[in-house]
Amino acid sequence: MTINRRSFLRGGAFGMGAVAATTALGRWTRTADAASATRYAGHRSVVAVFLLGGNDGNQLLVPRDSRHALYAAARPTIGLTKAELLPIPIGTQTDATASYGLHPKLQKTQLAFKAGTAALVANVGPAALPTLKTDYTNTAHPRPTNLFSHSDQQDAWSTAVPIPSLVAAAVARAGWGGRLADLLEGLNPPVASPPVTYPAMTLVGGRRTFAAGAGLPLVTSASGELTFNPANTNGFYQLRRDGMADVAGVTNGVELQQGYGDVLATAAAIAVERTRARTDAWAALASTTRTAIDAAFAAASPTWSLPTQLRTVLLDVIAGAVAVANGGLGQRRQVFSVGLGGFDTHNDQRAAQDALFEQLDFALDAYARAVAALATDPVFAGAPPQSTLFTMSDFARTFTENSDGGTDHAWGNHALVLGDRVAGGKIYGGFPNLDVLAADATSSTTDSRGRWIPSTTVEQYVYSMASWLGVNAAEAAVIFPNHEAYRAAAAARGLGTLYTRLQHPLMLADA
């Protein structure tokens, strides 16, 4: 067996001390401190919905007031008319006189917003330090690494590390979802016999970096399948299966072999138990609940991926939330990721993005309705699972369209949060100045194409969800390593609460 170098290094990187040599299986068992969650006795989860390719948030949330003229001028081909926009109530944002509408394909989202279970956050993006236009034009002011590059900005959102070269490699390579999961695992009882730690991070789609932590995430296909064939347990197959951990452990001190062996050991350790729990926990639900969940997803187009992924997440939430005595895994806190591709709309944007928004609108609503159906199921004994969906994306797209009826890569973006514990019906944050030719003192854009400089960081956007899962301030500092430095710089410059805030209070207080 090999020396447990990874946990060793990771312990150093996170200041948690060293771990002695263990078996291959033990090496993925997480060693992080237990989080301090005591706030809710039931199961809680957050679900990142990664809109891959750079969703054009300028079409998600559009002003319906006098600023619509700026929007229409910037987007002669792809612009939405005021009449097309789905109005959201006036007075739901900082500026009480402003008026906004949602993209016409977001009908269910509009209803959720009106019902107070959906919120929007304006102009969010990665930033190492507070950045105004005058800072952006100063080349000495640090910018996120490789701004406008898909891969780099997906990672910036996934890691909450805008400039990876300034932090330890172990930090830059881990996602904030993975770090969050590392801290949450202490709250979750081990599963199976002999007991193993169940990964608190499950990635069904999205950006893998988001899920990387000290421990390996559970990753499945969209359909959720994770099984070593065959299910048959005759002597031959039992012999073959029992040998899996031994084979995974023969890695000769070769790091790539260790990397492969870790994944194999993790999969072998949890595959059987997870598959069983997904079946048994589902069966433990009342038949009316199962019917309601099936109905929520029934109208999904067979070509859509996101509803399939979210249904997989839902089955894992059920498996995780149902008590061990009822066939579930008895977990308390989990982080999920799903992804929807196709948002890199450099040309013919309306056709592509409109179809994606229709799918997104359906999938988020179906998931929310399925979670609502769990609320009254007796198997949860009055503490049903709570789950919050939130969007991430590479970046926004240029406010001005290009010659192909599309838009190009930009920066600060509008995001969507949805769930029955969301303090919804509000637009949080500061909307950018849509005048792309404004003087530097009031400009929100890097150049004349309308690439918004974010006024809310990724950390400020998602902090309240990590907190809702139960992490305390010290733990949050591990998950969001750049957050305090950003806030301190904003305070030192007297930039006001939009820049200095710890978080946008997106989650309702616990009763």
């Binding site: 070269s165 002597g235 040998g243 031994d246 084979v247 023969v250 790091e255 790539l256 072999q257 492969y260």
Partner: protein
């Protein structure tokens, strides 16, 4: 704690059970024949003292050397079987002629081609011929085609100069498959030019209509129909720089990132140059006659794109300026789209970042994920000057040879950091070829194999985006410094799919049903010889005592059953083992 001291612990542990590699010696400075050891920021020694193979080793290859070479240069050794003469890609042949001549032979094999898809008949609502799917054709070629090194290189280039079939539009109003027409042309360009010049290849792929459609190079007009200047699409321009030529950071010739005084990487190009490249590359459209001002040709895939001056922004644009940049990177005012295309591609081709950016990825695809900087530098030197009288830059034939004959490729005692995870397509082809698999083409065997590859994350030629199937920068799980590009496709879910493929292979009927036929009679019955066969054919004689022990224990267990089941058990176990899954 001192993190940099940790690799020594690792080395101490490794020395006991693997090659006695130990600490690197003090290399004589400036001796290009000896790879200099390099310590990464995380402390791993990733290059170094691998013994230089003697000329005799390259000339008359040992069996282990031949098996390893064929893993790097082909989709795996082909058994001689009943053939009267050992084929070029057999271990026996490589042992007979030596690695150097074997490369020369492979470089000389004529390029095969991917066949077009016939139009649908009738009312054009039926399916297209499934056997002409490019992924299906790719697997048939990987298993059976003669131009193995070319295919292997093409497969690497396909993952650098990415066009995905998923991103090509299909015109439902026609009897033809536009996706397939576009991809057949595109993959044939890569295959035919795999040993050509990178500059020529860049121009060819830029003008391919598949690329034009995929990244919006086609119909990127600089004017509307009224003649007003409009903003060209930045899509192709950005990915041409970031993914096809330069990458995001300035690089040294050895592939390491250049750092500034504050130890920070420097961007390879300023952001403002992207719109300049977009302007310079405007005005191209699909084949036919040039449409009018601001107008666009419909997508057709019958030939390269054509230039239309009316839709081109002819102004001089400031491209990248670097030491040696032609005209300081300023394009010619009023020049044609063709001249501007040449200027743009030359501006990138002669940029010092291009050789290390391209060469390191080619090494990663063929030999090892973490080549030492010295290895990259040796290959880069050949890229910059192929050693001919013409001192040609970008000669891929010379580059591929340099990659394969390098000491780091040929050593039989690779360092702990050496190796690469087999990609799904390579894993499937490698195992099937080792059994002398035959294909019944009437049953579309390639279609099934590409489906399985797709379930593992690599549906050829359909990477999910221009960032390909996985990123060359993917962190190896658990490592703070090593990359493992193919690990971008490996997770708890896909690893079960990989294992389940082997279950299907050894126990299922679906492969045979779909025309993939092999039998295990060539694999010995005797347990000791069975293990020896696996060691030789799959692990080039490098099986560890620990893996051997797990196989021996399993084979001695009464539950392992019949002779056939013993073979299946040992093969399955070895196939999913870290030792085999990592090509080393």
């Amino acid at each position: 704690m001192n993190l940099r001291s940790l690799p020594l612990i690792l080395f101490a542990a490794a020395a006991g059970c693997a090659e006695p590699t130990g600490a690197p010696p003090d290399d004589p400075p400036g001796d290009p024949a000896v790879a200099a050891a390099t310590t990464t920021p995380g402390g791993d020694v990733i290059g170094g003292e691998a013994p230089t193979p003697t000329p005799a080793q390259v000339a008359a290859a040992s069996r282990a050397n031949a098996v390893r070479f064929l893993e790097q240069a082909t989709f795996g050794a082909r058994p001689v079987g009943a053939a009267a003469t050992p084929p070029l890609d057999s271990v026996e042949h490589v042992m007979a002629v030596g690695v150097g001549p074997a490369i020369t032979e492979q470089l000389g094999v004529p390029a095969g081609t991917f066949l077009p898809t016939p139009p649908r008949t009738g009312v054009c609502d039926g399916p297209f011929d499934a056997t002409r799917d490019l992924g299906a054709q790719f697997f048939v070629a990987a298993l059976t085609a003669a131009d193995q090194l070319r295919l292997r290189t093409m497969f690497a280039l396909h993952q650098i100069l990415v066009v995905s079939e998923n991103g090509i539009g299909e015109n439902r109003g026609t009897c033809t498959s536009e996706k397939r027409d576009a991809m057949t042309r595109y993959l044939n360009v890569l295959r035919a030019n795999a040993f050509g010049n990178y500059r020529d290849l860049l121009e060819k792929i830029t003008r391919e209509p598949a690329m034009g459609d995929y990244l919006d190079m086609a119909n990127n007009v600089a004017f509307d129909t009224a003649g007003n200047r409009i903003t060209p699409n930045e899509n192709f321009a950005r990915e041409l720089l970031q993914l096809f030529t330069l990458g995001t950071y300035l690089l040294n010739d050895d592939g390491t990132v250049k750092l500034d005084a504050a130890n920070q990487p420097r961007p390879a190009y300023p952001e403002g140059r992207i719109p300049a490249f977009a302007r310079t590359l405007s005005g191209w459209t699909y084949p036919g006659t040039c449409p009018g001002l601001g107008k666009k040709n419909p997508a057709t895939y019958t030939g390269p794109m054509i230039a239309c001056a009316a839709n081109h922004d002819g102004r001089a644009s400031q491209l990248l300026n670097y030491a040696g940049a032609i005209n300081g990177g300023l394009t010619t005012a009023g020049a044609s789209p063709e001249v501007h295309l040449d200027e743009a591609l030359d501006n990138l081709f002669y940029h010092p970042n291009l050789p290390p950016f391209v060469c390191k990825q080619l090494i990663q695809h063929l030999v090892t994920s973490n080549p030492s900087p010295a290895y990259v530098a040796r290959v880069v030197a050949v890229f910059k000057d192929d050693g001919t009288a013409a001192h040609t830059r970008g000669n891929l034939r010379a580059v591929v040879r340099a990659i394969l004959v390098d000491t780091e490729a040929r050593t039989l005692t690779p360092l702990p950091a050496a190796g690469r995870l087999r990609s799904p397509a390579e894993l499937i082809a490698r195992v099937l070829r080792s059994f002398g698999t035959t294909l019944d083409l009437t049953k579309n065997p390639g279609g099934l194999l590409n489906t399985r590859s797709g379930q593992m994350g690599q549906s050829v030629p359909r990477p999910p985006s221009v960032f390909s199937y996985y990123s060359p920068d993917t962190a190896a799980p658990g490592s703070d410094d090593l990359v493992g590009p193919e690990f971008g496709l490996l997770d708890t879910g896909s690893i079960t799919v990989r294992a389940n493929f082997f279950h299907e292979l050894f126990h299922g009927a679906s492969l045979a049903t779909n025309g993939v036929t092999f039998d295990l009679t060539g694999v010995p019955d005797d347990p000791a010889q069975l293990v020896a066969w696996i060691d030789d054919a799959w692990l080039h004689g490098a099986m560890s005592p620990e893996l051997r022990a797990t196989l021996d224990v399993a084979l001695a267990d009464s539950r392992s059953g019949s002779t056939l089941n013993k073979k299946r058990l040992a093969l399955y176990r070895a196939a999913v083992s870290p030792e085999f899954e990592i090509q080393r």
